[in-house]
């Protein structure tokens, strides 16, 4: 179980391998990786991600604890970068390990939905024409609804 908030790049493949290596207690490992996507018109120069030190770690830790309470997870990893990134750079990853593939998938989706709208990160996109803060999406907020407890 680990949460890392960092400026430096991370090696997705190495993290994924270390997470899954020799895991004979959990047959299912799911990863999600978020990558800086270029804009539709292909002119994204860079993205800057600001965060709220202290609250970020608390929020991610809380989201991870909630996932572990809801699903049968043997391990869970969240890595999220802040700072300057260019198209193709990896922003973040989550990984889940469970004996059941449905649990591994659902927990990873839950982590992503909460992380998108409840972890204090803000993205700003820089193009030749200027800079714009990325708007939150109604769809991201709506995605949280499916995890509401009955």
């Amino acid at each position: 179980m680990a949460v890392r908030v960092q400026h430096e790049p991370f090696d997705f493949g190495a993290e994924a391998n270390a997470f899954a290596a020799g895991r004979s207690d959990a047959g299912a490992v799911v990863t999600f990786t978020g990558i800086v996507r270029d804009l539709a018109r292909g002119d994204l120069d860079r993205m800057e991600i600001e965060h709220y030190p202290g609250m970020t770690e608390r929020a991610l830790g809380g989201i991870e604890a909630e996932a572990r309470a809801r699903w049968d997870l043997r391990d869970c990893l969240i890595i999220h970068r802040f700072g300057t990134m260019v198209p193709g750079d990896m922003i973040m990853m989550v990984a889940t390990a469970s004996p059941h593939r449905a649990d591994a998938f659902q927990a990873a989706e839950f982590l992503m939905d909460y992380l998108k709208s409840r972890a204090p990160f803000w993205k700003k996109e820089y193009t030749r024409d200027g800079a714009l803060w990325v708007d939150s999406k109604d769809a991201d907020e709506a995605a949280l609804g499916r995890w509401a407890k009955g």
Binding site: E50, Y52, K116, S117, R118, P120, F121, W122, W133, D135
Partner: protein, 82 residues
Amino acid sequence: MIEILYFAWVRERIGLPKERLETSAATVADLVEELKAREERYAAAFADLTALRVAVDQELTEFDAPLDGVREVAFFPPMTGG
């Protein structure tokens, strides 16, 4: 004394990342009114509260949250992580 933090375009609009304030505001909403009354840049930043989120002592909360015993209040737009 409460520490007030601003992030993303709220920080840019107000022009600083954080400040310390002596306040007798009872709730976050009262604090917002107090800030808006100070200067135009605060009024501009807090013009539409539906576009803002608030965290009290690093927990997301609502604008009617009480400030009693609180050390840190943060204002920012909806989050866009992931």
